[in-house]
């Protein structure tokens, strides 16, 4: 297969200015005293993206994934190395495509068309499709500076996909806009895949990458750390995420001490471990059991102890939370080293990385110690169900003539 995008030894450095003179006057006054440090955002990236594939670029914030996409789009120029692209390319970076705020939606559509190398007649041909897709019929002659951010994004996406690009670069934009529009975008992206166009998506949502992409690549601190099959890349990505989330030796008390409570330190969390059902795997499958073992240390006897646990999803939602008090449990007097085990016999979650927050506090809520999302666990679903929770479901085909929904 021919490569649609070749990234060859791409390195991108930014200048981090200490104090940057931005006017001629300042420049002259402090001549030669501009201090900056190089920051390597991308370090010797090599990857080929085959024509017709959908590739997901994974990485957490600051990993360089968006910078890489911008280099592919030609917006940032490499410090060394190069990017070669074949075919018309449309890019959707952050919020919408490039629009001129003073101009109307209509003028911007034509402007964008000509930026992408289309002639006026070619834009004429797809103009109605663009406006229809963006659902902006009434506002198309309004200057885009009056558009809401949703309208802006809709128009940007509509232009990008209707100008017949061979390569589409998308940066997280699918996560904005209302649900109906999101669905429409995903449908369109699927259609693009079916037509054999090349798509590069940047995301930190591993699940979306797993669902949509044929290939994936993970970036960390500007380096390409995994590239290939999405499932393997996602595993690698999550492992690294887990490692990086591990606190340095004495970082957690340092961090937590900031939320000083009068009871602080009378009971300490010394460890928290996630124990999966299958010791050989580092993930739990839906329906399997999982334990969280929390080690506590109380230098002096304390009789007023509640241990709490909360599970957060990757987007920061609270998925579940409970504590010993809610479960009517009295821990009695704690002295010295003790462990508390939270036993989850049936984890009803689907694919994803979940974070655990653990706290120890008095019955009245004064905190002894807390670990905010310092532990994570993985759920790896073998099935193809999507979403957050595994809802028990059975499906049947009803007899002809039986309309189960209305028969009652």
């Amino acid at each position: 297969m021919a490569a649609a995008i070749e990234v060859d030894q791409l390195t991108k450095q930014f200048k981090l200015y200490k104090e940057k003179p931005s006017s001629l006057k300042e420049r002259i006054l402090r001549f030669r005293r501009v201090r900056w440090e190089p920051f390597t955002a991308l370090d010797d990236i090599r990857m080929d993206i085959e024509a017709g594939t959908t590739v997901g670029l994974l990485g957490h914030n600051g990993s360089g994934k968006s910078t890489l996409l911008k280099c592919m789009a030609g917006i940032l120029q490499p410090t060394s190395g190069c990017v070669r692209t074949v075919g018309r390319m449309a890019a959707l970076l952050e919020l919408g495509a490039g629009f001129h705020p003073e101009l109307s939606g209509r003028e911007n559509v034509y402007l964008n068309g000509s930026i992408l190398g289309l002639k006026k007649v070619e834009v004429d041909r797809v103009f109605d499709d663009i406006v229809g897709f963006a659902e902006l019929e009434q506002f198309i002659d309004t200057p885009v500076k009056h558009y809401s951010s949703g309208m802006y994004i809709r128009l940007g996406f509509a232009v990008a996909i209707n100008v017949d690009p061979e390569i589409l670069l998308v940066d997280e934009v699918l996560s904005v806009g209302d649900e109906a529009f999101q669905r429409k975008c995903i449908d369109k992206v699927r259609a693009f895949q079916a037509e054999g166009r090349t798509i590069v998506v940047v995301s930190h949502a591993a699940d979306m990458v797993r669902q949509m992409c044929d290939k994936a690549a993970a970036l960390e601190h500007g380096k390409l750390v995994a590239n290939g099959d999405p499932n393997e890349v996602i595993r690698e990505f999550r492992e690294r995420l887990l490692k990086s989330a591990m606190p340095a030796e004495d970082m957690s008390p340092e961090l937590a001490r900031s939320e000083m409570s009068p009871m602080w330190g009378r009971v300490k969390i010394t460890d928290a471990r996630v124990v999966y059902a299958d010791e050989d795997r580092d993930a739990v499958a839906p329906g399997e059991s999982m334990q969280v073992v929390i080690s506590l240390e109380a230098p002096d006897p304390v009789s007023d102890v509640v241990v709490a646990i909360a599970v957060y999803g990757s987007m920061g939602w609270l998925v579940f939370g409970t504590n010993t008090q809610v479960h009517g449990m009295d821990l009695g007097t704690i002295e010295g080293h003790r462990t508390v085990t939270f036993d989850f016999p049936d984890v009803p979650l689907l694919d994803g990385t979940y974070a655990l927050t653990i706290g120890v506090h008095t019955l009245g809520g004064l905190v002894y110690d807390s670990w905010e999302q310092l532990r994570r666990f993985e759920v790896a679903a073998p099935g193809r169900d999507i979403g957050l929770v595994r809802m028990p479901v059975s499906i049947r085909l009803n007899e002809p003539g039986v309309d189960a929904g209305r028969s009652q």
């Binding site: 030609g74 070669r84 075919g87």
Partner: protein, 290 residues
Amino acid sequence: MAEIAAPGRTFTHRTTMVGQIREIAAHHELLLNLVRLELKAKYKASALGFAWSLLNPAMYLVVFYIAFDVILGGGIPRFPIYLLSGLLVWNFFTAALNSGTGSVVAGSGLVKKVWFPREILPLASVGAALVHFFLQLLVLIGALVLLRHPVGWAELPLLPLALADLILLAAGLALLFSVANVYLRDMAHFVELALLAWFWVTPIVYPFTQLNKALRGHSIIALANPVTPLVLTFQRALYGEFGKPPVMPPNLHFTWYLRNLALVTVAVFVLLAIALRVFGRLEGNLAEEL
């Protein structure tokens, strides 16, 4: 898979001048579009709309006419014709440089989001200024026809060359200033100030002979200003050999103007080459700096 002739592109830190020019040429549709949009955006929210593009120079004309001809008594016959044939050149030059200097910063919304040869932005400002130039030229031609003014027929054929030089000079400077303005945001003020001084050392409201006299005949100093030969050519061709004694130096003819233009042409190409080189070097970081 069959290799189809798809538009391929390589992004590196190296740019070649030929590559730059090729990309600019490939985006001529975008250039025209931006010129149209710049003209449109400029007058969109104004009541008089496009008329402003003529009102502004008309006002200049009236003010200078009153100040120099009526009050100071400059003694140049048909002063408005004389003035306009030089002012035409200058108006284009200032309009192109003023809007060109800010063009990349103004277009940051595009620069940060999509790739296209960024040279297009200052060039579009030059293009928009050119449209105004032709409008003003039409007004002047109308006046010439109405007054049956004796133009300098011999020097008329030099106008296309002078205009080409003028466009390239403005393009080169606009390229340099626009990219400098990204790094040093007060570039625009500097350009405005420099243009003010530049205007008064160029023989537009006063005749070249006067300037020459002030320079004690060292016309070479006056001609080192690249706008001067261009202005002189326009004045000689449009205002002609008018007045007694003639306002334009009577002993200078076609070959003298041609020689000046040839020198300007050489200078302008050197400038353009430098400007493209500098722009090419700096354009890679524009998206970061904006």
